[in-house]
Symmetry: C2
Subunit: 227 residues, 2 copies
């Protein structure tokens, strides 16, 4: 499903080259549940952005469901991002002037869902992440953990085949975090491919496989039982 070969992503900063990802190879099959862990600054979000077709590598190859991503048209890329991939960003990336429900409706608009259905779906998924009563608040009228849950709801709105979640429980108390993990496990059992970056070892341990990153490289890749 996801095949990454000898991937590198670097940034040029004057005379210095920052190697965010350094000759990394990785294969993830459809329906897998993978945790990505590693120190702050080790390249996890950069890797997620490339998997999610939001960024391109400096070198190496990324093949998604048999298609080489570098060769895809802009329209095809947009279609993949909007219909098949749900992305929970580490810093949420909500639209500040839109309410929670409007933020969640955004991917549904791109997917061509009509207004009445869109609103019902968005309200339903906000209820699912326990945000009833907060649907018409804007991000600055929400707590940190509430914003995180809007970001999660937006990622799930289109029923994605691949869910990329970058620190999805970082701003949540243990109980709320467990409710989100419960929801993720449910999706997983329905066949969704789930790739989750987390700093919480308890959350990481709920996956079936753990990939550990350091300095842009994979240092460990094991079934969770052996991690």
């Amino acid at each position: 499903m996801i095949k990454i070969e000898n991937l590198s992503r670097h940034y040029q900063m004057g005379p210095t080259t920052v190697k965010a990802i350094d000759d990394l190879s990785l294969k993830i099959s459809a329906g897998e549940f993978v945790s990505i862990v590693g120190p702050s600054g080790s390249g996890k979000s950069t890797l997620m952005n490339i998997i999610g077709c939001l960024d391109s590598p400096s070198s190496g190859k990324y093949t998604l469901a048999g298609e080489e991503v570098a060769g895809l048209s802009r329209d095809r890329l947009a279609e993949i991002r909007n219909k098949y991939i749900g992305f929970v960003f580490q810093s949420f990336n909500l639209l500040g002037r839109e309410s929670a429900v409007e933020n969640v409706e955004l991917p549904l608009i791109y997917a061509g869902i009509p207004p009445k259905e869109r609103r019902e779906r968005a309200m339903e998924i906000l209820k699912r992440v326990e945000l009833q009563g907060r649907e018409f608040h804007q991000p600055n009228e929400l707590s940190g953990g509430q914003r995180q849950r809007v970001a999660i709801a937006r990622a799930l709105a289109v029923n994605p085949k691949i869910l990329l979640a970058d620190e999805p429980t970082g701003a949540l108390d243990t109980k709320t975090g467990e409710q989100i993990m419960e929801l993720f496990r449910e999706l997983q059992s329905e066949g969704v491919t789930l790739i989750m970056v987390t700093h919480d070892p308890d959350v990481a341990a709920q996956a079936k496989r753990v990939v550990q990153v350091r300095d842009g490289k994979i240092v460990v890749d094991l079934p969770v039982g052996e991690w």
Copy 2:
């Protein structure tokens, strides 16, 4: 040092009143180390903003080091915020177009520190949070945990008497989080009053006292050994 009596903070949203803080009373002495815990949306950040003189209550009284905050002049409030309080925001609040070191220098500019000393102090504290090599990156050229550490460095730059840290390790891996807690304990031993919101029970347990919030009220307030 910090005396809060019957504090309430509500938001009017059309016909609905959101009670972010609901008749809350709390006393914190100089030099204490307090964790504030509770579910997402329970009022922790709202409480921190009021303690940090960044927001005013709707009713009730807040006395800081003997001065009633509601009665203070704008100049005196600004002086207190700039010289005595260091605030690590839950969403970092960095200036996007400034480098890490420029972000950290900002409170030093307000404190009237001359340029050469400011730059030395900012570089030193960035090194202390393990960001050497990233001082001239802007926030969008940093990872989530690196941005969090810039926010921490900025809060510590002026050697504050009171450190208010809202989820200071939320974006950090365990090891980096422990390094930050090590730094906080050091400041604590030097007499800094430390009030920390955290969702991580292991981090909360490092304080000397735990205050648990729910629906804008304090439900538990205990020495950590009894929590």
